[in-house]
Amino acid sequence: MNDRKIPEDLTKDQLLAMYRRMRLIRGFEDTAQRLFENGEIGGFLHLSQGQEAVPVGTCTALRPDDYITSTHRGHGDVLAKGCEPKYMFAELYGRTTGYCKGKGGSMHIADFSQGIIGANGIVSGGLPIITGVGLSIKMRGTDQVAVCFFGDGATAEGGFHEALNLASLWQIPVIFVCQNNLYGLSQPFSETAYDCDLAQRARTYHIPGECVDGMDAIAVYRSVKEAVDRARSGGGPTFIEAKTYRFLGHYVGDPALYMPPEERKAWREKDAIAKLGTQLRAWDYLTEEEDEAMAASVQAELEQGVEYARSSPIPAPEEALDDVYVHFDYAGNPR
């Protein structure tokens, strides 16, 4: 193990921030799950426990003005890019203070002020969109980059191909980050494509592709950082497959009978949060007490978030009619 070797490309503060973010995501998901099971919140909850290293590693390589698109399983992605738990909880509670004023819910959380273009309920929905974000960066002449998060299941959709093809043709600053958690909904990746090496497939589009250990936040960071540097300097798109795992079912309520218990156990043992924690302690970046203090602070932040959500105003039901159009009300009257 080279766990002893202290990274030179990430500061202690960065590493601690990554660690905290991953715990925040885990805690957010666990809390959301509890709230759902309690019946406090509704809708669909696709949680991402186990996958935290991917968004956190990725977003550590991004600037605040960079963009991301995400998926139905988007909590971790948007938290990693900068969403705050309290406004996210408020969204899950359907409150006016939620990121989408209660109109979007779990599958549509977005914060345009931070380049968070949003989760998306359509598998592969963000892939075509990211090409436009990349095009827009190129046309506006900034050095932003755009990351598209998507799952392994999305790679069977036509939009996957169209997006890779356009990104390649247009040489836009886009990074495709496939969170391959081995399952579509219940279908193993082996049923999505026959013996497929995704990074290799990307290379047939002349998009540099690589496969990275998605249970290692630092490895993800490094891979994405290289892609970001290339994209910022005009080097075009990159494809990264991060191999990871969804510890729980597809959504809260799914018993996930299709996931073999041994497999689940084996992946649990690769927990990326535990791994980074061990590393941080090995590097003397974190004492037991600091670790506990951090856990407590994460917990407090989440509890305050839930409290914030609970005490936030419920939208007037007729607000359902707002925000359909910019220039007209829902019935077509100008405003």
């Binding site: 509704g42 809708g43 669909f44 969204e91 359907g94 409150r95 989408c100 209660g102 109109k103 979007g104 819910g105 599958m107 549509h108 998306n120 309920g121 359509i122 598998v123 592969s124 929905g125 299941g153 999305a154 069977a156 959709e157 036509g158 579509g184 909904l185 219940s186 279908q187 049923e191 999505t192 494509a193 009978l257 299709y258 419920i314 939208p315 039901p317 007729e318 607000e319 359902a320 009619l321 359909v324 829902y330 019935a331």
Partner: protein, 328 residues
């Protein structure tokens, strides 16, 4: 008669038809056991028929719809499932330009005996991309038949017919109906397309309703009965072919009509019913035909906002009351 759920009624239809005709097979995402599809309609079928006839596909709606078209025009009888009606958007070319048109554009050579099962509708806080009611698109499209069963009995009988028809059928279920129960005969039966069902007889006003709106209309009928207002609830069951005779007969009797569905009002199926009835029963109408539908907004997430845009028995009853009392 025994009572079973809408889900089990559908499952029985699939099972019976697969037993009856080996050309029938299922195609869709996550439909095999142990998951057995998002709303569990196909749960238990792959152990019986094997994964060669309960074919689980990658997330490729365009691809598997094309696969169904190709299989149908070469002699098989596929039943595909779109997990949500919202995802038919991914397959719209294959549905609209291929499945719906092959018979016509080949001059009658090709037959496309395929059923597209899906489910729509609000009620589970599933928000803008998982709660639409898009049946109007398919209803507008020449070449497709559209069924929307409201009860377990109709679900089974219509699905069996859909599978036996040689025309492509969009078969639209509703997510909140799966757990509803009702009487379903043990014996074999089918229900023809184009035959409306008068779900309740009445004299003061006709309510034409589809899918979930049928249940709401029946509840409204109870509310109104207590006030001495009698409504007749007509369920067309298939949007196309549409049994206008039954609807017009009912309107001639009651002189008033409310049309209700969960889809947004603007350009929805109800408008077609209004247009046809106002043409064919103009002289019998005592008051303007009313529509009780969702306002034309995307489905919102928050429960209270979703409730606000959903139709319910009160909205139907209120409108009927106003009509009957001459306030409209």
């Amino acid at each position: 008669m025994r009572e079973i759920s809408y889900r089990d009624a559908l499952k029985e239809a699939l099972k019976e038809e697969m037993e009856r005709d080996e050309r029938v097979f299922l195609l869709g995402e996550d439909i095999a056991d142990p998951f057995g599809s998002a709303y569990k309609v196909t749960l238990g079928l792959s152990p019986i028929f094997g994964t060669d006839r309960v074919i689980q596909t990658p997330i490729s709606e365009q691809g598997f719809t094309g696969a169904a078209v190709g299989a149908a025009i070469t002699g098989l009888r596929p039943v595909v499932e779109y997990m949500y009606i919202d995802f038919t958007t991914m397959a719209m070319d294959q549905i609209a330009n291929q499945a719906a048109k092959f018979h016509y554009m080949s001059g009658g050579q090709a037959q496309v005996p395929m059923v597209m099962r899906t489910q729509g509708g609000p009620g589970r806080s599933s928000a803008a991309q998982h709660a639409q009611s898009l049946e109007a698109w398919f209803h507008h499209l020449p070449g497709l038949l559209v069924a929307m069963p409201a009860t377990p009995h109709d679900a089974k009988g219509l699905l069996k017919t859909a599978i036996r028809l040689d025309d492509p059928v969009m078969f639209v279920e509703q997510k909140l109906l799966y757990n509803t129960t009702g009487p379903v005969p043990e014996e074999e039966y089918t229900i023809p397309f184009g035959l409306a069902d008068v779900k309740r007889e009445g004299t003061d006003c006709t309510v034409v309703a589809t899918s979930m709106a049928v249940l709401k209309a029946l509840k409204a009928a109870d509310l109104l009965a207590a006030e001495g207002i009698s409504i007749e609830v007509v369920d067309p069951r298939t949007l196309f072919p549409l049994d206008m005779e039954t609807i017009v007969e009912s309107v001639k009797k009651t002189s008033r009509l409310v049309v209700s569905h969960e889809a947004p009002e603007r350009g929805g199926f109800a408008a077609e019913v209004v247009a046809q009835v106002s043409d064919r029963a103009f002289d019998y109408l005592d008051a303007p035909i009313q529509r009780v539908c969702a306002p034309s907004v995307p489905p919102p997430f928050a429960r209270n906002m979703e409730d606000y845009v959903m139709i319910d028995e009160h909205k139907i009853a209120d409108r009927v009351r106003k009509l009957v009392q001459g306030e409209i």
